[in-house]
Structure formats: structure tokens, C-alpha cells
Symmetry: C2
């Protein structure tokens, strides 16, 4: 039997988590001399001192709740023994009070990317077929098979063809408050750097989300290669449209022929592109965690946080998200805001989400899952502390409302729900060209639009899911690697994946999840 | 040039619609002697008399709005000339006042279906793989390709294998009011008669929607072929579960192998089934319209309404839906309710939707689309009158809240939003084994789970979309067929399609839309 191993996050914490696979039995003597009163599962908390009823249970140097009854030292501190604290109010927060010395620039790191006309850089070279409405999905799927079978082999520099399908576009209250979120999300996904500025749209014709509403004139920047004389007409040229209800379509195959022919024009242009060496500052990285456990905040997320600092030092854009998973750390975030305006934007997004959840008669505590709790996370406060750590230590340079496109470098809070699919979809809209996803319980999550690097929080998961996990941060808990080691490893892996030198596990297996839009407005 | 043709729905109407392809130019002399003042597009309304500002504009013998200014006879009455009336209140409605003589039974009509252990009948023999959460979709898609390629050819009596994928299952407020709707929807879809009672589930493991919450013990009826001795254990046996996070899974291919092996057990049982002759009363038909125009309420929906009466007379279950499209006809519906309880349930569903839309700061008028208006439908009142006619003349025997399973024969109001995909998904949950969809502007809508018969409202659409439309109701406007002719034709086509003798256009082309769940609760 390996030596008992527990992990305490901060010297003021009065609980630690059990790191050993399979947990530790009652009677185990810890190196400190403390004897376990209960069997404690892996990832779960043990009381390091005697706690009286009402005492704060501290992890990450914050109170994650108060003890509902006396808890003797050595006991298993599970969620049924904890009273969750109320969410901190949004008044009187510390505003931009943390003024760290600027992180030293990290120079000389590059990757091989596809430079776009608007200055952005793709990490993959993909033809995306934007759809205005779910109605066209069956036809687009048919055309997609044709394109992949008949055309793609003739354009070897193009990595893939994907259809941007979704449940939106009609049967929705398209003028209601909040409807702007799914609409701008779809618009900005069409403009993701991995699609090379080649925008083609398939519409039905009678739907609420008309193509010119989805992509109004001027949303697609004029390509650098086009002359100024084109300016007067670029709005009309900016995207190619196939409308199924066009009178010109006679029979199903005429629709397919239109889509395939339109796709070929774009494939020709995409195929002519070549990777070039660009600075690491061109990375736009979306961070997420899912299927979290108590190790998420101990291994993978701290390593990711270290890597976030490296990315910020290299001048890249890094987005962290998942509002319900940072809500309990709002005071940390407003303190870290670069300016009072950034702090105000953070508070605005939290307040919006509080109100949104309140209308549905829930609060941020609706976030946690059965798997989180099995994995040792007692409540949303504890989960949030482990989640927020992936944002590293940099100043928060900006806040992005859901569905909007990131326009600044540095660390950005991209406000999104915590649903893996909705968050990933919104980060795609924000312009993400690389995605990092940490997981404790394990998820085969993937996207067709950008590479997703998956990081395991535990060695057991990394071992069993050896062809689904790209990196094992569990070595930190095993004592085999430091947070810094894994952070640097992840940074280098990012550059490899961004360059196309490495493909992620998800890419190799072609695992992709659906786009799921965030639509806070009603359906009709 | 063909003779000018206009259609008036009721002798008290003061407008008629232009039926001619391409509309009619100003100066056209109608058979009545009326001269058109404006060019009037096809499907749009012409004033038959001089209307003063404030006069009611009548179509279907109801006021669809009041004239915003004086409108001379022969003018084009478009939506900008109309003030839409407020929605009728839900108090003081006529309750079960219409007591038509019962429709005479229609006997002797049968189809060839797959009889299930619970007594229901499938029109197709499909293996459905239920998923608890979007997380597993990439893995399930991979397995599905294997099953279709390697197994399906060996089980020729099985029509298809489909994955029931969706955006729900985690990242949602699963205990919020309204969350019961998506959960019971998924549960009841898994039990759709076309899946033969063979329920297999793929779950991740840590998701909020745990398999036992999706399918609690007792929801799957004990198969007739199983002995009473099984009763004690049937809950555990009722569905097969593959959980990706199970410790037994080592590597991606072990997950695929588990899914494929589980699928094969079910394919073996499904393959042993044979069609048998069953009465037409075993049909459970979901009615929908989408991409509606002014002809929807003149040709396809009246023919469908006639067919609805035939189905009710044959003892079948027929569901009409789309709450925002019947809201303006609530007085007709409560009057047609079989009992005061049914009328109360209708009012309850309308009130629920009024409140749901109100929370989003919209009302039922958010329903209409640009295509509806181009097609001549000025507002939701006019659209509703054309939509409701597909319910025929029978007494309304029951009301089904969204996501629940139909348990009664006869005409049922299945309360759903009007979104084509959400409505179709909810009708699948209700137990639909045949779907009829009328369209004016044209949509390639289809489902992988049940056959969808598509009916065109106009000959022009039926001609251009000859391989996408199963029936042309436009012949009614052309004067080439009566409503009764097309209604009978549709009834016979239904029996052919239900029997597998005919495949629909959508089935031949394998056109399928995504399941889209109705989740009125927040995401987290």
C-alpha cells in the first residue's frame, strides 16, 4: 500500500484532500500523526483539526461553508456536513486593488499559423458552412458528405469542412431581450479565425434569422488583398449565400449542386493558403473545465493557471469563463481588474447572471453535479475556488459579454454559462483558435472547429483514458512533476498543436460535440 | 394569361386572397367585376369592399385586425394597413358548448405495423440509442457509424439505428421549475413505439441527468413476453446502460466496443419482429405546419383537417399543437372541448404560455416570420386561423402538457411551442408514429425517428420541390381537386407510409433534423 498522501492548499486551511487512488481507510495514520476516523474517498476532505458546529471549513484560504455539527479531526468532511454560505453581494467589492508588478514579457515563442486578411491567425484551415436555421440541416448534411467525399481530397491543404448547425433561427422570439446573444454568437462563429474569412451561408428563405440579419453589411472585414475600389460593393460580396427556397432550385439535387459548387470556390482559396511563423501572441485560448473533481483545483487548473501566465507574458489572448463557477470569487476578480471599468463590467455580468438565474427561481448553486460531489467537491464555493485558479495571476484586462468577439490581448473574462457546450460555443464566437479543457471525472468533449487539448487531473484517469487525454496533470498529485513543469509542458504542447505538428486526441478520433447556443429569450 | 382567381374563405369575409402564380397586376378585372387598384402578390389579400379606417378586416369569418386607414375596394391589404387585435382574454370563454353529432365510425382500414409489448404499434423498426447528455455525442456518433457499417446489414428487418442526441443533461438548472419538461421529453422519446421497447442508454457518469433519473424504475412497461416472476427485477433490466466513466473502460475503443455489443443484443431482438395487420386506430399522428403562407389555411390545412376527421372516425390518435398558432382561436377550442376539464386544460396551457412569453417580454405575435408575411399572412391572428383548421371538426378529447405521452384516442391538443423542431421533438415524446407536415414556402424538414409526410400548399412549390414534397394540396387552389379528394388521398398515403409500403421523400433522401428540446428553465 502506497504511503497516505493528503493535499492542503493553504496553510490556514483546516481541511486537506486525500490524494491516494481509492481513498484511505479509517484508521490510516497520516504523516502528521493524525488518524482517520472515517474512510475518506479519493479527492474528498479530511478535517485536520476538531471543528465545532458553526466553524468555518477553510480550503483555498476561504470559507467553503460552516460545519453543521461538531466534526472531530480525522473525519470525512462531506457535503452533508456543510452549510453553504450565501453568495457575496455585489456592493462594496474591492475595485482594481491588486496591482501586481507586470509579468515579465516572454519572448521568442512562435507557432506556425494561417494568417488571415483581418490580421487574425488560424490554427487550422477549415471551410465552415454557416446555417441560418435548423430547417436546412438535413440538406446541408447531405451536401457535406458530398463535399468531403468528392472535393476535400482535391484540396489537401484544407483540414476539414464543417457545418455550423444549431437549433436557432426560427420558432424563436427574435426581437426579445437577450435574442441578440444567439444571433451575435452565430455571426462571430462564422468569422472565427480558423475559417480563413471564407464565409458561406445556407439559408432556407422564410426563416426569422435572415442572412442579412445574421451578417449585416460591414461585419466581415474587407480582405487585405482586395482593392479599395471594392469598398462600395464588399457588403454584397462578403458572404456567399445559397437559399434553398430560391426559385432557381428545381429538385433536391439542384440544392446540393448549389452548395457543393459554392463550397468549391471557397475550398480553392483556402487550399492556396500556407502556414507561416507567427508570434505566440496570436493565440486566442479558451479555458474550460468540465467533469470537475477535487483534483481539478489541485493539479490541472493550477498548472493551467501557470500556463495562462506564460500566455499572457507572451502577449496572447486568454479567456476564462463560466460565470456560476467564478461567482463566489467575485471579490478576487474585481480586485484583479486592470481598471475600475473592467471591475464594473465584471459586476455587470455577475448581476446579469444572478437576475437570469433568479427569473428561473435558482441561483449559482444549481451548477454542481452528482459527479462533482462524488469527486469530492462539496458545493459551488469549493468548485469555484478550484475553477478560478486556471486564470493564473495576471491582471484582468477585459470582460466580454456572451457571444461577442475578443478584441484585446491579455487575460479576459469571457462571460458564459458553465455548460461545457454553451461555453465552448461562446468561446468559438469570441475568436478562440485553441481550446484547453481540464477534466477530473473524464469527458470525451471535442469540437470540430478548433483543436481541444484535454488535461486530466488524476493519473488514474490519464491511464485509463490514455487515448482521450492529451496531458496528465495528475503527476502533480503523485509528486512526479511540479505545477510549473506541467504548465510549461502544456504551453509547449499548445504551440505544437496550434502549428498542426501535433493533433489532439479528439482530432485523431474526430470527436466533436454539437454547437449549443445560449438563448435566454423565449421560443415561440 | 390564366383567368384571375381569388379565394374567399367565408361569405362574411371582406377580403379574398389572390391564387394566381405571380399574383395579379393592377387593373386586373376580377370575375365579380372588381378592378384591382394595386398589384397584389400571390397569397395576399385584396379588399372586396371599401373599408373605412377602423373597420374590421374579416377572413375565416373572424376579424384579423382593423384598417389603419381607409382602404378602397380592389386594394392590396398588406400587414402595414392592419392593426392587430389584442389576444382574447382567458376568462369567460365558451366551455364545451359545441356538441356535434359524433362522427360516424370509419371501419375496415388497417395498416401493417410492429406491435409492441405495451400494446403500442410502430410504423418503423428502429434501434434508438438514448443519451443522457451531450458529452457523449462524439463517442456515440463514432459507435453509430460502426453499428451501421458492421451490424445493420446483418439485421435486415431493422430499418435504422439512430442516436437520440440533444443539448441537455448537464450545465442546466435541473431542479428548477420547468426542468421536468426536457427530462420527460427525453424519457418518453426513448419509449416511442418505433423503437420496439428496446431501450439502451449511453451516459457519461458525472452528469446531472443520471440514467435512473431519466428512466426511473417502472417507466418502461414490462414486456408481455416476460414472466410475472421478473416483476421484482424488471426495473434493473428495463434498460441497458453503457456508462463511459465506468472503471471497466480502458481506452476509447473499449467504450465503442461496449456500445456496439450492447446494440447488437437489441438488434437481434428487433430483427425478429415482423409487421402484422393492425387497425388504423393504432396510428398516433402528429400534425404540424411550417413555412406557412396564405395558402396553408386554404389548401393543405383544410385537406389535413378533413383527414384528421377520417383518422378520428377510424379511432386513431391525432395531435395538433403549436400554442402560439392557436392562441387566437382559443374560444373555438374551448367550445370544441369534450368536457369542461378538457377546456380547463386548454386554458391552463394557454395561460402557461402567455406567462412564459411574458417573462421574456414578448407575446404570441413573436411567432410570425418574414416568410409568413411575404406569403401573405399579415399577422398571428390570420396565421392562427389557417393553422387551426388542420384540427378538423372533431371534439377535442384531451390536452397533453409538453413532453408527456398521449394515452387517449381521438383528437388531442398537444401543447408545444410552434418551432418546427421543438414541436416535432415533443410530438415524438407524445408517442407519435406518423408525422404530417404542411408547408407553403417549402421546408426540407425531416426526422430520423418517424416518417414525415410533407404536403405542399401550392402547385408551384410541389412542382419545383418534386422530390421533397409527398403530396400537392395546391391542386385545390388550382380547381383540380377538392378538399375531400386530397384529404382521402392523404389518409390512404398515411396507411401506405405507416405500413412501410411507401417511403416518404425525406426517408428516401435520409433528411433528418436534430432533436431540439423545450427547456423553459435556465442553463447554469
Amino acid at each position: 500500500m502506497p504511503a497516505p498522501l493528503t493535499i492542503r492548499m493553504h496553510e490556514r486551511d483546516n481541511v486537506a484532500i486525500v490524494a491516494n487512488d481509492g481513498g484511505l481507510p479509517a484508521g490510516t495514520v497520516l504523516p502528521s500523526g493524525l488518524v482517520l476516523v472515517d474512510k475518506v474517498p479519493q479527492g474528498h476532505k479530511v478535517a485536520l483539526v476538531d471543528l465545532a458546529a458553526g466553524d468555518a471549513v477553510r480550503r483555498y484560504d476561504v470559507s467553503i461553508g460552516t460545519a453543521l455539527r461538531a466534526i472531530p479531526a480525522g473525519s470525512w468532511v462531506h457535503e452533508r456536513l456543510l452549510q453553504m454560505p450565501a453568495a457575496r453581494g455585489l456592493d462594496g467589492l474591492p475595485i482594481a486593488t491588486v496591482k501586481p508588478a507586470p509579468l515579465p514579457p516572454l519572448e521568442g515563442y512562435t507557432f506556425e499559423g494561417f494568417r488571415n486578411a483581418d490580421g487574425s491567425v488560424g490554427t487550422r484551415n477549415i471551410l465552415a458552412i454557416t446555417t441560418t436555421v435548423q430547417c436546412v440541416a438535413g440538406v446541408v448534411d447531405f451536401a457535406l458528405q458530398r463535399i468531403r467525399r468528392d472535393l476535400l481530397p482535391r484540396y489537401p491543404n484544407v483540414d476539414d469542412v464543417v457545418a455550423l448547425e444549431h437549433g436557432y433561427g426560427c420558432g424563436v422570439a427574435i426581437d426579445a431581450p437577450g435574442a441578440e446573444i444567439p444571433i451575435r454568437t452565430l455571426r462571430n462563429i462564422a468569422l472565427n479565425p480558423n475559417f480563413g474569412g471564407e464565409v458561406m451561408v445556407v439559408s432556407l428563405g422564410c426563416e426569422k434569422l435572415q442572412p442579412e440579419r445574421l451578417l449585416p453589411a460591414g461585419t466581415i472585414p474587407l480582405g487585405l488583398e482586395r482593392s479599395a475600389a471594392d469598398v462600395g460593393t464588399h457588403a454584397a460580396q462578403a458572404f456567399d449565400l445559397v437559399c434553398l427556397q430560391d426559385d432557381a432550385h428545381v429538385g433536391f439535387m439542384s440544392m446540393i449542386d448549389s452548395i457543393v459548387a459554392t463550397a468549391e470556390k471557397h475550398l480553392e482559396r483556402l487550399n492556396a493558403r500556407r502556414r507561416e511563423t507567427v508570434p505566440a501572441s496570436e493565440l486566442v485560448v479558451g479555458l474550460q473545465c468540465g467533469g470537475s473533481d477535487a483534483f481539478s483545483g489541485v493539479t490541472a487548473n493550477p498548472a493551467l493557471g501557470f500556463c495562462t501566465d506564460l500566455l499572457v507574458r507572451a502577449g496572447a489572448t486568454v479567456m476564462f469563463s463560466e460565470t456560476t463557477e467564478v461567482r463566489d470569487g467575485i471579490a478576487q476578480l474585481t480586485a484583479r481588474a486592470a481598471t475600475p471599468e473592467v471591475a464594473a463590467a465584471l459586476i455587470r455580468e455577475m448581476a446579469w447572471t444572478d437576475a437570469y438565474l433568479g427569473r428561473g427561481e435558482v441561483d449559482r448553486s444549481a451548477n454542481t453535479t452528482p459527479g462533482n460531489k462524488l469527486g469530492g467537491l462539496s458545493n459551488i464555493v469549493e468548485k469555484a475556488m478550484g475553477s478560478i485558479v486556471k486564470s493564473g495571476t495576471a491582471t484582468i484586462a477585459g470582460v466580454l459579454p456572451p457571444g461577442e468577439k475578443a478584441r484585446h490581448k491579455g487575460l479576459i473574462y469571457a462571460a458564459t454559462p458553465a455548460s461545457d457546450f454553451i461555453c465552448g460555443t461562446l468561446q468559438l464566437a469570441a475568436g478562440m483558435n485553441l481550446h484547453v479543457f481540464t477534466t477530473g471525472r473524464g469527458t470525451p468533449y471535442g469540437l470540430a472547429q478548433v483543436p481541444v487539448i484535454k488535461v486530466a487531473t488524476r493519473t488514474d484517469l490519464a491511464r485509463r483514458w490514455h487515448d482521450l487525454m492529451d496531458l496528465n496533470a495528475g503527476r502533480i498529485a503523485d509528486g512526479d512533476a511540479s505545477i510549473e513543469d506541467v504548465g510549461w509542458e502544456l504551453f509547449r504542447l499548445m504551440l505544437d498543436v496550434a502549428s498542426g505538428r501535433s493533433k489532439t486526441c479528439g482530432e485523431q478520433l474526430k470527436l466533436a460535440n454539437a454547437l449549443v447556443l445560449f438563448n435566454p429569450a423565449p421560443v415561440t
